[in-house]
């Protein structure tokens, strides 16, 4: 196989990186304390776990509103538009191509940070799982002050269900960070903003839509 040239692209702005790692921290804390409240293990003690979970959960809820605002004012929401173009190629790449040293079918760029598989995954998480989790979490938190409402067991089951999905996401997400040209190239990209990628694939027009200003 021929030597491929590496190039550096600036993918993630300071805000995005901060938001990503802050969110990573909050997800981790919420999962750790949440499963303790669920009774899966004892770690911080039930009372501390509940208190931490409540405050971190509320903080995330409010920060998420800012994030959504940012998404829409900057047009970054377009990064999340799902597409079937090359989706199958990406799936095939991770299933087979990656073992054969094939190139990733979709190259990253500022205008297209997410490949089609990521678009679907992140859209599902940001637009479905997280809002559902925040809603059930808020209803759970306010259970005592809201009149009537949904039975606590329903809220708890829904909240736990999404939590399990998020754990699964986290595992796969963490693993996928190692699939760059080196084990840590994706992670260092999310830390510095600059990511090293192979300079071979031409970025296609549709992938650049998000940054294309009128």
């Amino acid at each position: 196989m021929t030597e491929r040239k590496l190039t550096k692209v600036y993918l993630y702005t300071r805000f995005e990186r901060l938001w990503h790692w802050l969110q990573a921290l909050m997800v981790t804390v919420l999962l750790v304390t949440g499963f303790e409240v669920h009774g899966t293990y004892a770690f911080l003690g039930f009372k501390t776990a509940v208190t931490v979970h409540n405050y971190v959960g509320l903080t995330w809820l409010i920060l998420f509103a800012f994030f959504v605002f940012w998404l829409f004012t900057t047009g970054e929401w377009k990064q999340y538009i799902p597409t079937t173009k090359k989706l199958f190629d990406v799936v095939l790449y991770y299933a087979f191509g990656i073992f054969k040293g094939q190139e990733h079918p979709v190259q990253k760029s500022r205008g297209a940070k997410h490949n089609p598989l990521q678009r679907i995954a992140y859209l599902g998480i940001s637009a479905m799982l997280l809002p559902v989790q925040m809603l059930t979490g808020l209803l759970y938190y306010l259970y005592n002050v809201l009149p009537g409402g949904i039975d606590l067991s329903v809220l708890a089951v829904a909240h736990t269900f999404v939590a399990f999905l998020l754990v699964n996401f986290l595992i796969i997400h963490l693993y996928m960070t190692t699939t760059g040209h080196s084990l840590f190239s994706h992670i260092s990209g999310m830390i510095t903003g600059w990511e090293e990628i192979y300079e071979t694939t031409k970025i296609q027009e549709w992938e650049n839509k998000a940054t294309k200003k009128a």
Partner: protein, 554 residues
Amino acid sequence: MGVKDPAMGRLHIPATYIIIMILGLAWCLGLVTGLSVRTAAAETGVMGEALGMKLAKQAVKANKRWTTADHSKVDALNRDFTSGSQITEACLSCHTDASMQFEKTIHWTWRVDSEKPGIMNGKAGHAVNNFCISGNAMEDKSCLACHVGWNGVEDGVNCLNCHGGETYNYQEAFGDIQAFMGDDDPETLEIIKELQGEIKAAVKNITMPQRGHCGECHFKGGGGDGVKHGDLDTSLIKPNKMLDVHMAAEGADFTCTRCHTTVKHNIAGRLYTRPASAERKSLIQDDMATKITCESCHGTLPHTTDSKMNDHVDKVACQSCHIPAYARVNPTKMWWDWTKAGELKDGKPYSVKGEFGKPVYKSIKGEFSWDKNVQPEYFWYNGSFSNIGIKDGIDPAEIVKVSHPVGGSADPDSRIHPFKIHRGKQPYDKVNKQLVAPMLSGPNGFWSTLDMNDAITHGNKSLDVPFSGEFDYVETTYAFPITHMVAPGKNALSCEECHIRGSSRLANITDIYLPGRDKNDLLDGIGMIAVLGALFGVMLHGLGRFFTRNGKED
């Protein structure tokens, strides 16, 4: 958007500060929303001290009682008494309606209407328990030891039982005086004079009811110290703060009547088929309300305002967390098996003492067990009890709940409350399927004859309830609400006592979802499999990449 543009690069620095500020703002917002939603009603609360604690301290601020009457100066008491009823007459010469009031209360009648026609509750009614079983309509004279009258009920109310500042054996003194009466011997006259002096001094020493007055019966009911309640025994005469924050001298130093407030000698706190208080109100809502509930003084926001604990008060009674165990100083009786009664050693009744220096066997009563520092059992409770009396049918195949709390999760008046459950085996009528009321004291009583069949025959006759002549024993339970012996706040239960898998104290409260205790087995099963599956999957994928070296050939 280009980072290579130097102007853009500079812009990122203030942006970071803005983000940090936003984070700070968000955190504050989080706190404020969190707090304001749950404490809308606690506007007056001051951060730091719980509103409930402030209210409670306010309610007991003025603790010195004062009076305009000095009984030692009252002429009516400054005379020689030769009988108990003379003393009561002297009391009534000023307190004209006192005995009239008192005779209407359950403390005198030992009877109270039930919801069932023809059935009276109370010891003198059709109620039974699983200790000495029945009062046999006051025929069982040993019960009268506790009765608040002179000579049982014969000679009227004995005011000094609850208001006498001195423990004095009036019955014995009057007996002696009667015996010596008519004797002119100067020495005898001297003795009579001395006795009269003692009686006079005792009679003039009048107080409000103290712990010992109430405790004489309520600490020692069932035949000895701590037998019955579990949260009431002689350790409460002089408790330390660890045992009871309300009654300890270094605590609030309450007498019983501080909470068991009284109207016309009716003392708040009686529980049968009706709750002790119809509604839970604080003194702020109703300053004439009884002080029998915790909320009376502590309100409905007893914890600091930001505390999740305040969310518990609608479903969990204060006692559930604040009385971690009962009988913390003196032991209490947990088990009484009448089937073992009547055994003889060398042809004579005998008794055996056990672990706590308490009897574990008595020929006249059967087998007992005692325990100390007991963890309560928890049930939904709306303040009232269901009772099985002498006239109610039972199912001998099951454990009979002679007395059991009423309530459920759907009932807004019910909360989870701690109880002592006294278990035992007691006789029942095999044909009529009813509990029976053996006569215990007296010449025909079981304690003299050790003949259960005969005792039941006499006992049931006293209550006018037929007995078939065939009896056997059935296991029964009797519930006491645990409400005294409130421990200091730092000793209240930790969350994990209930919010935990498996060992939860509320394991038997199954009709609610309790975080930390409950889970959906299916969801948790699938979730765990999915998580392990994902881990396994990425491991396989990773190993695949490792062994194929990502398809690169070196």
